[in-house]
C-alpha cells in the first residue's frame, strides 16, 4: 500500500487540469472566431453600404447580447440541475422564466393600451419591456420563496415552480387572447414569446452583461455545496451543508440570470437544459469547472443560434427559440437515451 504522505508529494493539484485547460482554451478560441465571424454574417454586406460602420456596431451589440443571454441561461441551468440533482432540470421549472415573460408582456400591454405608446419622460422606450421582465422575474421569485416550504424539500420547490409556471403561462395566453385584435401589440407579444435579440442595443447589452457577469462569481462560489449535493440533501446535510440556505440562494441567482436573459429577448428553451449537460461531458461534474464552462458554452451556443437566425435564407428572421428547439430536441433525446443506458 502506498503511504499517504508519499502520494501527497507525488500529486499536484493544479486549479485547471490539462484537459480542462484545453477545453477552456478551445471554448475561448471558438467564441472569438464565432463572434468575429458573426460580424460579417447577415443579409447586408458591410462593404456595400454606407452604413457599414453602424451595421458593424449593431451586429457586435446583438452578438454580445446573445452571448450574455446564453451564458446566463446555461449558468442558471447548471444551478438548477445541481440543486435538483437532475440533468433534465431546466431553469424554467422554478417559474421565474414565465414570470419574467409575463412581466414583459404586461409592460407591453400597459405601454400600448394604457399609455398609447407614449413613454413617461426620463424612461427609455426600449428598456420598458426588459424592466417589465426583470420586475416579473423578481415578483415570481418572491412568490416562490413565499409559497414554497424551502425548509421542507426540493420537491416542494419543484412543485411550486411547476404550478407558478402553469399559472403565468395561462395569464400570458389570456393577455394574447385579449389583445389579438391589436395587430401591432399582438405581434410584439408573439416576438417576445418566440425570442429574438434583433434590435438589441447598448441598453440591453448593459443589462444582460451586468446581470450575467454580476451573477457569475456569486453563483460560482456555491460550487462546493453543489458538488456535495450530488450525494443528495440528507448526505449533504450530514456533511455540513446548510441545504435550505443553499437552496434559497440557488433560486435567487437562477431568477436573476433568467431575468437577464428574458429581459433582452432571449426567452428561449433548451439552452439551460442541454448546454450544462454537454459541458458536463467535456469538463466533468465538478461545479468549479462546470459553471464557468457552462457560462462560456451557453454564450457560444446562443451566439451561434443567433447567427443562424440571421443567415437563413428566409423573408424574415427565424425566431431564436425555433433554432434552439431544433438543436435542443435531438440533444435532449440523446440525454434521455444516455440516462436509460446508464440506469
Amino acid at each position: 500500500m502506498t503511504e499517504p504522505s508519499a502520494l501527497a508529494e507525488q500529486r499536484a493539484l493544479p486549479f485547471f487540469q490539462g484537459r480542462r485547460a484545453l477545453g477552456f482554451g478551445t471554448l475561448l478560441v471558438a467564441i472569438v472566431l464565432v463572434a468575429g465571424g458573426s460580424l460579417y454574417a447577415g443579409k447586408a454586406e458591410l462593404d456595400q453600404t454606407a452604413l457599414g460602420e453602424q451595421l458593424f456596431g449593431l451586429r457586435a451589440q446583438r452578438g454580445a447580447v446573445a452571448f450574455f443571454a446564453g451564458a446566463a441561461l446555461a449558468l442558471a441551468g447548471t444551478l438548477t440541475q445541481g440543486l435538483f440533482r437532475n440533468p433534465l432540470a431546466s431553469p424554467s421549472i422554478l417559474g421565474t422564466t414565465s414570470g419574467a415573460q409575463l412581466g414583459g408582456e404586461l409592460m407591453l400591454v400597459l405601454l400600448y393600451e394604457l399609455l398609447d405608446n407614449r413613454v413617461p419622460a426620463g424612461i427609455s422606450h426600449e428598456m420598458l419591456t426588459p424592466l417589465g421582465c426583470v420586475a416579473g422575474a423578481v415578483l415570481a421569485l418572491l412568490v416562490v420563496l413565499a409559497l414554497a416550504p424551502l425548509r421542507a424539500s426540493a420537491v416542494s420547490l419543484l412543485l411550486t415552480g411547476f404550478l407558478l409556471t402553469a399559472l403565468f403561462a395561462s395569464l400570458s395566453a389570456l393577455l394574447k387572447s385579449l389583445t389579438a385584435e391589436t395587430w401591432q401589440l399582438a405581434r410584439a407579444l408573439t416576438t417576445l414569446s418566440l425570442g429574438s435579440v434583433s434590435g438589441a442595443g447598448r441598453a440591453q447589452l448593459a443589462l444582460s452583461s451586468m446581470l450575467a457577469l454580476g451573477s457569475l462569481l456569486p453563483a460560482w462560489l456555491y460550487f462546493r455545496e453543489l458538488d456535495v449535493l450530488m450525494s443528495g440533501e440528507e448526505e449533504a446535510s450530514a456533511l455540513g451543508v446548510d441545504v435550505a440556505r443553499i437552496r434559497v440562494w440557488c433560486v435567487i441567482w437562477t431568477a436573476v440570470l433568467v431575468a437577464g436573459a428574458v429581459a433582452v429577448g432571449a426567452s428561449v428553451p433548451f439552452v439551460g437544459l442541454i448546454v450544462p449537460h454537454a459541458m458536463r461531458k467535456l469538463f466533468g461534474e465538478s461545479h468549479s469547472a462546470l459553471m464557468p464552462a457552462a457560462f462560456l458554452g451557453g454564450g457560444l451556443f446562443l451566439l451561434l443560434c443567433d447567427v443562424f437566425c440571421r443567415v437563413m435564407p428566409l423573408r424574415q428572421e427565424v425566431p431564436l427559440s425555433v433554432i434552439t428547439a431544433l438543436v435542443g430536441v435531438p440533444v435532449f433525446l440523446r440525454i434521455l437515451t444516455d440516462m436509460e443506458r446508464s440506469a
Binding site: P4, S5, L7, R85, D227, G232, L239, S286
Partner: protein, 255 residues
C-alpha cells in the same frame, strides 16, 4: 471507554401522526461500539438519523457536551459523521473527490484542496481504498462504495461515527472486514453507533446495544444483557439457539 460523547434523552420522532420513535435513550462514549437493533419498522434508522441531527426530533441530544440543535451544520459535521445505508450519489466523480466531500465542514469559505490531502489519503488508507482513488464512483461494486463512504466519514475527523446498516448487501467476508474495521476505529478512540440487523454481528462486535420494537426501547445495556433468549422471543417471536448458527472468521488469505 471515556466520558460520554453522545447523550440522547427521551428522543421522540413523529412522522405525521405516527410516532416512529418514543423515549429513546443512549449514552455513548468514545472507544465503544454501540448497536441499534430490532425488527423491521422498529425505528432504528429514525433513531440514527435523529442522533445525526438529520431528522427533527424532540428530547435532549448532547454531543461532546454541547446541545446538538445549537451547532451549525458545519460544527455538527465535525462532531458526527453519518454513513447512509446507500448513497444517492450516482455520478462518475472520482473516489478521491467523494472522500474529499468529507472535508467540506473544515473549510470556512474557500476550499483548500492541498490542506485536505493528508486527511483524505489517511482516510482512504484506513479503509483500504487508496488504490481506487482515481476510479469513478459509479463503477465501484457495492462493497467498494461502502468502504468509500466510510472513508468519507473518517475524512470528517468526527469522533462519533453513525452507520446505517453498514453490512447489508455485503458478502460475508466484506461484512466481517467492515465490522473489524469498526472495532479498530473504536480502539483508536472513536465512538461507533451502528444499526445492525444481524444479531450474531451485534453479539460479536457491539459493546452495548439498544433493542427497539415499534419505536420503543425493549432493552438497552451491555450486549450480552440485551441479546437474550427472552428478549429475542419477545421482539422477534423466534427462539434463540445458542451456538446453532454458522460461525465465520476472516481467513489468513482473505481478500
Amino acid at each position: 471507554m471515556t466520558s460520554p460523547a453522545l447523550i440522547a434523552r427521551d428522543l421522540r420522532v413523529q412522522r405525521g401522526s405516527r410516532k416512529v420513535l418514543e423515549g429513546f435513550e443512549l449514552t455513548a462514549a468514545l472507544g465503544g461500539v454501540y448497536a441499534l437493533t430490532g425488527p423491521n419498522g422498529a425505528g432504528k434508522s429514525s433513531a440514527l438519523k435523529a442522533l445525526a441531527g438529520l431528522l427533527p426530533c424532540s428530547g435532549q441530544l448532547h454531543v461532546a457536551g454541547r446541545e446538538l440543535s445549537r451547532l451549525t451544520p458545519r460544527e455538527r459535521a465535525r462532531e458526527i459523521a453519518y454513513v447512509p445505508q446507500q448513497s444517492l450519489l450516482s455520478s462518475g466523480i472520482s473516489v478521491r473527490d467523494v472522500v474529499l466531500q468529507g472535508r467540506y465542514a473544515h473549510d470556512a469559505v474557500w476550499p483548500h484542496k492541498h490542506k485536505h490531502t493528508g486527511p483524505v489519503d489517511l482516510a482512504m488508507q484506513q479503509t483500504d481504498v487508496l488504490a481506487l482513488a482515481d476510479r469513478p464512483w459509479n463503477q465501484l461494486s457495492g462493497g467498494e462504495q461502502r468502504r468509500v463512504l466510510l472513508a468519507r466519514a473518517l475524512a470528517t475527523e468526527a469522533q462519533i461515527i453513525l452507520l446505517d446498516e453498514p453490512t447489508s448487501s455485503l458478502d460475508v467476508a466484506h461484512a466481517l472486514q467492515l465490522l473489524l474495521q469498526l472495532r479498530v476505529l473504536a480502539a483508536q478512540g472513536r465512538c461507533i453507533v451502528a444499526v445492525l440487523h444481524d444479531l450474531d454481528q451485534v453479539q460479536r462486535y457491539a459493546d452495548r446495544s439498544v433493542l427497539l420494537q415499534r419505536g420503543r426501547t425493549v432493552a438497552a445495556g451491555a450486549t450480552r444483557d440485551v441479546i437474550t433468549s427472552e428478549n429475542i422471543r419477545r421482539v422477534y417471536g423466534v427462539e434463540l439457539m445458542p451456538n446453532a448458527a454458522l460461525g465465520y472468521r476472516l481467513s489468513d488469505g482473505a481478500p
